[in-house]
Subunit: 385 residues, 2 copies
Amino acid sequence: MKVFIAGIDGYLGWALAQSLLQRGHEVAGADNMARRSWVEEVGSWSAVPIAPIQERIRMAGKIYGHEPLFSSIDLCDFLELRKVLHFFKPDAVVHLGQCPSAPYSMIDQSHAVFVQNSNLVSTLNLIYAIREACPEAHFVKLGTMGEYGTPGIDIPEGEFEITFRGRSAVLPFPRQANSWYHLSKVHDSHNLAFAARIWGLAITDLMQGVVYGASVRGLELTGPQLATRLDFDSVFGTVVHRFCAQAVIGKPLSIYGTGGQRRGFIALTDSVRCMTLSLENPPQPGEYRVFNQISQVCSILDIAKTVREQAIKKGIEVNFDTIKNPRTEAEEHYYQPDAHKLRALGFIPLVHLCQEVDCLLDVMAASSDRIRCKQSVLAPKIPWK
Amino acid sequence: MKVFIAGIDGYLGWALAQSLLQRGHEVAGADNMARRSWVEEVGSWSAVPIAPIQERIRMAGKIYGHEPLFSSIDLCDFLELRKVLHFFKPDAVVHLGQCPSAPYSMIDQSHAVFVQNSNLVSTLNLIYAIREACPEAHFVKLGTMGEYGTPGIDIPEGEFEITFRGRSAVLPFPRQANSWYHLSKVHDSHNLAFAARIWGLAITDLMQGVVYGASVRGLELTGPQLATRLDFDSVFGTVVHRFCAQAVIGKPLSIYGTGGQRRGFIALTDSVRCMTLSLENPPQPGEYRVFNQISQVCSILDIAKTVREQAIKKGIEVNFDTIKNPRTEAEEHYYQPDAHKLRALGFIPLVHLCQEVDCLLDVMAASSDRIRCKQSVLAPKIPWK
């Protein structure tokens, strides 16, 4: 299968590219290196050094026997994007090329507009380019579980059947996202359902939970060429990475509010596996399907406790620091998302949180100098209000 | 009350401005004349001639005793917009400054991106400018009934209480819009609910039905300075205007598909009244309220029959022409929207469809030369597929 990855230089993109290459798929990708500059803008860097994309691509060619085609276009440049898809003629396009940070989108007006505009336009451009260059290609889009918010009832996968005043209908599940970033993904979901309906595109929209981890089982992500980036700062790092980074430099884990916020989580290994399963089992033309891509649900406090437990085994002492929640969100709430559809395709979570935290602590400890010199970005500085 | 109208040169904006001036409110407004250029781009013009905005503003000052402040800024220019709101310090901001056409948004990739991007950014900029310049101002936003699509169950006003797997919650009603334009309004609605939640803004989001009419009861909208624009083309004219235009130039009314599509409709007089009621009865800080702004529900075929009936009374013979539907939409469907909340504020529809069609036919007949010379734009040329 020929797979085009928008955002191939990113955290998920680089891991997925290697996994697909290893499975014998043909891979091409695009990236404008924006993620590197955003992380730099907020004063941080990846915990593990990463090489320039050209070096990464060359090394991937050496290791996997097939060098991915790479283009440095901006996804907002429609004409160039269409040219690339016309040339490569992919069977599938995976969209991982968006700004993925809630706090980054909340910095100020210009960041809010930038994140919503560039995320939305990238998706519109990709579907228009697919429609014109490769209308039968399967479009796999990374959404987020954050689109649903915390509705207080079970969260189905994308849509649900409801009865209201005696009539029933299958409708999209209501979205209530809690940042301009998460809202940009909500906007995408609405746009994609429409595109499938009018043009007959085959679309998979992955509502992914919080992803964490530095490794992908079965791949040797070692060295600055093969490693995928590993952010730990409070803007681009996920909570698991941030806690592990705090642990290895002897800082208390900063818990926002009560820590009772429950979320879906998934390890990088399992995320890559889910994306691969989606790609290898495409939907019908005109089908817009939504998968909740999580392997377990736990609270922020559960995460902190897991990090502490694993750290203690390595002789690292860990304290908690409860800080004022910079976000506007419920801290104690019902949370029960479905996650059946990927399992029906064969997904079995391979990695438990404590295993990957164990591995992350080792990786972070080896990078503790890099983390220590950027430790000021571990504290949240972007309030929602 | 000091009211700032974004889009004061438009169809609704110019009518609302005069109504508010007549009621003794202080009015300021902004417009970049985009609506004029979009209509020109698709090869049409207003059925009634309209004067340059400077002349309109001067005449309004003469007639109503108070000249509105006017700024020609683009709403996408945040710094200028904030400056204007800082200077005027409005009690309320009404957002009528968006591209309002479904077919225009469906022309191609660049129009899709333009409509979604400029509509979304204008709203984000307005709420950020309000937050910084006048955080207590009431934000009144024009949405559309088209946000809901045709869900097959009753349509409540914005949100509803549902029970799912034994648990209940009050959630936003799911949106399923049918054009990039309608989707841009869906995106706005999600953004606005969030802005009310995090910043405590007071927001009214008006899900307006298809609006029609050339007159506002109690106002003399005569001459190119006071008249509001009256579009009849297949891109910017509503179906009622298009049918009236076809009738007065002796063309058959072009009905898309079966004509069984049911929609909410509202006359311009009643739309202005609803917006005024919303302004004069603001919500609480932090409240995001949604009103369905319609006065009656009927099918496209009902509209065609009404236009024919009224035309016959004037000795105009009218035929129907059923054409292939350029849009992707259900043509026979359940449609039962609530419209209680504005009535609870005192709204009673003043104008029935047949009355306003009677008036529109006279206005259009007096402009039949202008319509005839642009008659090619009456036929739809923008397919959804």
